[in-house]
């Protein structure tokens, strides 16, 4: 059987990839994708700890992950709306060219 450490390592690797992407990519949409990957890594941790915890019948880990998925969906909607609004103003999604909040 797979041990808890394997799941946690996969989750840590996923988080690091998301962090690297969010910090390095120039396109605002891909920064948002990196943040989504980090949220998913956290969800995987919740589920792994729930499954390997002493009483999985309590359902707390599943509930936490469900609410995290809902919040991630809301965050994606607002973030993409902001990116579209910024694109309309600056005609670019390149983060290095967006230098001021009030054009």
């Amino acid at each position: 059987m797979t041990s808890l450490a394997c799941y946690l390592l996969v989750s840590a690797l996923l988080f690091s990839i998301g962090l690297a992407g969010a910090l390095t990519r120039r396109n605002a949409i891909l920064v948002l994708v990196g943040i989504e990957l980090m949220l998913n890594a956290a969800n995987l941790n919740f589920i792994a700890f729930w499954r390997y915890g002493p009483n999985p019948e309590a359902l707390t880990g599943i509930m936490f992950a469900i609410f995290a998925i809902g919040i991630a969906a809301a965050e994606a909607a607002v973030g993409l709306a902001l990116i579209i609004s910024i694109y309309r103003h600056y005609k670019t999604t390149n983060l290095d060219q967006i230098k001021s909040m009030r054009g």
């Binding site: 690091s16 998301g18 949409i29 891909l30 579209i84």
Partner: protein
């Protein structure tokens, strides 16, 4: 480590790495979908069936499509000619590697991961529904309010300004 876990984790990691390294944005989203499929499979491996299917519905069905729409609306389909990473990418890379190193070290040296797996819990969708309607009723209402506010806010932000149209 079992074979299904290995395949699913490789799928997830490769998908995530491809999503953040490819040049073409549409290819990035397709790779992201692959990573989400792998994660849903990992949830199924962990006996969280409801969450696995919720992951497929919400992420592949909604979030990925939303990102595709954002890419098409911002004309990001054409691959950019200039570099796709920001000038300070080496520092960011070092930060990510250090973060992974610290987390991996903490996981390897932790005593909490030495537990053996408890027997498979009997978690049905009915139980989840009961829990959502009894103990977790208040958080459910709050997240409903949050989603409504976020969607109304997203529409308001993305709505074309009337002065711009004229």
């Amino acid at each position: 480590m079992t074979l299904p876990f290995f395949i699913l984790s490789v799928l997830t990691i490769v998908g995530a790495a491809a999503a953040l390294t490819l040049r073409n944005l549409v290819h990035c989203v397709l790779a992201l979908m692959l990573a989400f499929v792998g994660l849903a499979g990992l949830y199924l491996q962990l006996d969280a069936q409801f969450l696995g299917f919720a992951q497929i519905l919400v992420y592949i069905g909604a979030v990925a499509i939303l990102i595709v729409f954002a890419i098409l609306l911002t004309r990001g389909v054409a691959s950019p000619l200039e570099s796709i990473v920001s000038p300070s990418w080496s520092i960011s890379g070092i930060v990510s590697v250090v973060v992974f190193g610290v987390m991996a070290w903490a996981i390897r040296s932790s005593v909490a991961v030495r537990h053996s797996i408890p027997p498979q819990p009997e978690v049905t969708v009915k139980q989840i529904g009961h829990a959502l309607m009894s103990g977790f009723a208040l958080p459910l209402e709050v997240i409903g309010l949050l989603l409504t506010a976020a969607l109304v806010g997203a529409v308001t932000i993305a709505m074309q300004d009337k002065r711009e149209i004229k």
